[in-house]
């Protein structure tokens, strides 16, 4: 029997990670799928349930922790990475996850996000990117396309959008991936990979907001069009896509070029072979940039995974090192440091 009080070696299921709270997202919201995939993979990550901590800011997506039967903290707008940092530094045994919207993580919380990446804190950051402010009912966000008409941009937004993957890579995140709410298998696979990564793992999830930005990712998720619009990144494999795998990406110097494999001019052997572990971030930028280029497919999958020491690891190593060097702190001695004198 699996109840909330799970005994050891009783296998948990997705249900054990669900709470008794009614999920309050709009019917059809992409957040449901993300929640479902997270609940599905959680029992299989090899992490005891009590060690999960989900931290969020404010937004539709930030309600996420209320629906996960783990420790959770629904905090204030944008600050989730900073709060999560404190949780991890207080107790590095915990598996710390951040759920954040595009406004939350990249606008008000942009500073915390880039610094969490820079420090390579061992935590997982899931971006629910619906390219809109959902909770405040439909203003453009820092990932909305230029020209987008929203409630606060009736004549079209004049802001250029961020590419979240590039922000993460440039800021030093050591695991960077992208997935889709409508591709449960792929999303689950990314969650597994992120969970297994030691360091800051960032997954950008394209999430449909069917109320304020419906269809934003339709070309990438629609059965008819997705094969022509999505290229799945796999380590060691060529960048190949299309209904019949007839298209590929080739590098011409630093420039990517879409090539047609059906014409005989190019073969699979000419294509860009994806290397997740490339220390040089250059190719990740080129890949992420595809979405800005006309007639290029959008990559999903792991853009980059490298190994680097984590801030939390280094912090505790330094505590140990100094303790070894100086001996365990003695409060009475500390009080008396410097010059002291006696009054009789």
């Amino acid at each position: 029997m699996s109840t909330n009080n799970v005994m050891e070696n009783v296998k948990l299921t997705a249900k054990d990670f669900a709470t008794n709270q009614d999920v309050r997202w709009c019917p059809g919201c992409g957040d449901y799928s993300i929640l479902a995939q997270v609940q599905r993979v959680s029992p299989d990550l090899g992490i005891p349930k009590e060690k999960f901590v989900w931290v969020s800011g404010i937004g539709c997506s930030s309600r996420f922790p209320y629906y996960m039967n783990t420790y959770g903290f629904h905090s204030i707008h944008g600050r989730a990475p900073a709060i999560a940092t404190g949780v991890k530094l207080a107790n590095p045994d915990l598996s710390v996850w951040v759920a954040a919207g595009d406004g939350d993580l990249l606008s008000i919380g942009g500073n915390h996000f880039i610094h969490a990446c820079r420090r390579n804190i061992d935590m997982k950051v899931i971006l629910f990117n619906n390219r809109i402010y959902g909770l405040t009912k439909g203003q453009y966000s820092p990932t909305s396309e230029k020209g987008k008409k929203t409630k606060s941009s009736p004549y079209g937004s004049i802001d250029f959008p961020f590419l979240p993957v590039n922000m993460a890579v440039a800021s030093g995140a050591t695991f960077v991936a992208r997935s889709l709410d409508r591709d449960p298998k792929h999303l689950q696979a990314m969650m597994f990979r992120a969970a297994a990564h030691h360091g800051l793992a960032f997954i950008e999830v394209y999430q449909n907001c069917n109320i304020f930005n419906d269809g934003a990712y339709e070309p990438l998720t629609d059965k008819e069009t997705k094969a022509d619009n999505v290229v799945v990144l796999e380590h060691g494999k060529p960048l190949i896509y299309g209904k019949n795998n007839e298209k590929g990406i080739r590098m011409d110097g630093m420039n990517p070029v879409v090539v047609d494999l059906s014409k005989g001019e190019y073969s699979v052997n000419d294509l860009w072979i994806h290397d997740e572990f490339d220390e040089n971030p250059g190719r990740s930028f080129v890949l992420a940039h595809f979405s800005d280029l006309k007639d290029f497919p959008t990559p999903i999958g792991v853009f980059r995974q490298i190994q680097k020491s984590t801030y939390d690891g280094d912090l505790f190593a330094q505590l140990d090192e100094v303790t070894k060097l100086k001996g365990k702190g003695d409060l009475a001695k500390l009080f008396r440091s410097g010059n002291t004198w006696e009054v009789a």
Binding site: Y71, H74, F335
Partner: protein, 615 residues
């Protein structure tokens, strides 16, 4: 060949070292303080430095000063006006002349009074020659030349020699006030271990300064200030910021849980972060965050996960933390927020002291957001109040403010080193029992259980949305919201049950009560002491707990005919007292980036009760 000098015994002396910000005046002053503390005097210091790190040499705005008051009696202020001014250049003389006592001794570096420096200080003629200093005891010392002579033979640049002259001046003052050289010699030895040439140069300059006094006849009298009769015990000298850091380490030790500091550097609070970053072998974690918001947010996260969490800042940083403080109020997590106040608003006077953030701490948040407020009264009291803030935070599961200010943070005084065992316990019992666990259940203190991530079976969610009483799930029920607003308020009020009552010092039957808070303690205490010695009747209370106020506050305030509230703001405590107790108070406000002089308070009191003004 020691000559016979007259030795005059003094009760207390105020000395101020002043020079360019590059002249090492802060170092000189703190060395004099340490030696004086070791010698056994009671003392109090007031560093005063410009916001510019190295303002152009010789300018008026680049003058840095360090004032020190030492005595054979107990004292509580850094002194109103110096008896001795050491001025390293014309600018230092000009800036400080207005503050010193009539007839004070002025020791000047005569070599620095050249046309260039005189011009920079806007002197039309040389004050050393134009008789404008008549009425002072001016001692001209060729400090630069003498230092250079003392260092002859060492391979030093002119610049390095110039930088050593502060030790010459210090040596001379050691001679004048009959202090030993050894503590500073030992300090130099330690500091310049790896730079033999500076070690030698600084020690030589110090010693040369001392013997310059001994061998010339520039001073005919030496002064002796006997050790003070402080309470029995071991002492060290401590600044407010050091004391806050130690208070936190002590609280972490007594609570048996690691200390976590999330902070972003800001004057005058940065030293707390710096100090705590040394204490890694005490398990202290310091996180220098990307901004103040991340500083407090990380601390809130650490508190959720079971650490003793603190965040330190000054006024502008506190403004950034407001929203997150509200989150700590809502989630009822223990957290200490230190605000080392400085002149405001905005960037204001970053290096100057003020006590103008009280209402920010009290009200500076959205919604009904009660947070206990404690205020330290002296540098060494910063230790007790930091410890106490942690104790209250943990016991009541609440954020707690500790207000300090620039003058306490940088000022120092003797600290009676406490016995570790005699410090109060801070019991921490993380909740473990899943059968009886409810997120917002309350104990007799109205405090909710601290259940930390990692505990099997207690998985739960908290956050900034209103929570249902007891169960802690999100609740929009109107009655529940009002109930919880009142509950959070009641919890903070409940702290009143255990905080100490106000103690009326001075004359219980006086007509006038002086009510002050925070760093104004010293000046008021000295003023009241002086007036009572002269036979005036005055009473004094001091608020270290401002929210909630001590239980007997109303009773005390209504006992006196008149209440005078001196504050370095536009009447912030006055407003709180008036609104809470419907009492009339007389405000006395000074907002000049410096503490009250005790004479200012004395004269204000005299104006109310009659008598003769002091200068």
């Amino acid at each position: 060949m020691a000559k016979d000098f007259e030795v005059q015994v003094l009760e207390d002396v105020t000395i101020r070292f002043a020079g360019d910000s590059g002249d090492g005046m802060q170092l000189t002053g703190s060395q004099f303080s340490n030696t004086t503390a070791l010698f056994g005097n009671d003392l109090s210091t007031l560093p005063d430095y410009p916001a510019e790190i190295r303002a152009p040499a010789g300018t008026l705005y680049g003058v840095s000063g360090f004032q020190l008051h030492f005595s054979s009696l107990e004292i509580s202020t850094p002194g109103d006006s110096p008896d001795v001014l050491v001025a390293m250049n014309p600018a230092a003389l000009k800036v400080n002349l207005k503050d010193i006592k009539p007839g004070a001794t002025i020791v000047v570096n005569e070599n620095a009074f050249d046309p260039k420096n005189l011009k920079l200080a806007h002197y039309e003629s040389n004050p050393l020659e134009d008789n404008s200093l008549a009425g002072f005891n001016v001692i001209m010392v060729p400090l630069s030349k003498q230092t250079a002579a003392a260092l002859e033979g060492l391979q030093l640049s002119m610049k390095d020699i110039e930088r050593t002259k502060n030790f010459f001046a210090l040596g001379l003052m050691y001679w004048l006030f009959d202090r030993p050289l050894e503590p500073t010699l030992a300090w130099i030895e330690q500091k310049f271990k790896k730079k033999q040439i500076y070690l030698e140069a600084n020690q030589k300059a110090l010693t040369a300064g001392y013997y310059y006094g001994e061998n010339t006849e520039i001073f005919m009298t030496r002064y002796h200030v006997k050790p003070a009769k402080l309470e029995k015990g071991s002492y060290r000298s401590i600044s407010g910021n050091e004391a806050v850091a130690l208070g936190f380490v002590a609280a972490s030790y007594k609570a048996g849980i690691p200390l976590f500091l999330g902070s972003y550097p800001i004057t005058p609070a940065s030293e707390i972060l710096q100090e705590l970053s040394n204490f890694k072998n005490f398990g202290v974690k310091t996180f220098q965050a990307e901004d103040e918001i991340a500083g407090i947010a990380s601390a809130i996260g650490a508190s959720f996960a079971g650490n003793l969490a603190v965040t330190t800042t000054s006024g502008p940083g506190l403004a950034l933390k407001s929203e997150a403080i509200g989150l700590a109020v809502m989630t009822e997590l223990p957290l200490v927020i230190v605000d080392v106040q400085r002149g405001g608003p905005s960037t204001g006077l970053p290096t100057k002291t003020e006590q103008s953030d009280l209402l920010q701490a009290m009200y500076g948040r959205n919604g009904e957001s009660p947070v206990p407020i404690l205020a330290a009264s002296t540098p060494s009291d910063c230790f007790d109040m930091a410890f106490e803030a942690c104790r209250i935070a943990v016991k009541y599961m609440t954020p707690v403010f500790l207000l300090s200010e620039g003058y306490l943070a940088n000022g120092s005084e003797p600290w009676k080193i406490p016995d570790v065992d005699s410090l109060p316990e801070i019991p921490v019992n993380y909740w473990k029992d899943k059968e009886t666990y409810n997120i917002y259940a309350r104990d007799e203190n109205l405090s909710r259980p601290w259940a930390i991530p990692g505990t099997p079976g207690l998985e739960h969610r908290i956050g900034g949305l209103e929570k249902a009483h007891i169960y802690g799930t999100v609740s929009y029920v109107p009655e529940n919201h009002e109930f919880m607003v009142r509950m959070r308020d009641a919890k903070v009020k409940k702290i009143q049950d255990e905080i100490p009552d106000l103690v009326v010092a001075g004359d219980q039957d006086a007509d006038l009560l002086i009510a002050a808070w925070g760093g104004t303690y010293g000046s008021v205490t000295e003023a009241v002491g002086n007036l009572r010695k002269k036979g005036h009747k005055v009473a004094q209370v001091h608020f270290k707990y401002i929210h909630p106020f001590p239980k007997n506050t109303k009773e005390v305030l209504t006992k006196f005919k008149q209440i005078l509230v001196p504050e370095r703001n536009l009447g912030q405590l006055s407003k709180l007292l008036k609104s809470a107790f419907l009492v009339d108070v007389i405000e006395f406000n000074k907002i000049q980036g410096s503490p009250f002089k005790s004479s200012e308070i004395e004269n204000k009191i005299i104006s109310l009760i009659g008598g003769e003004n002091v200068n």
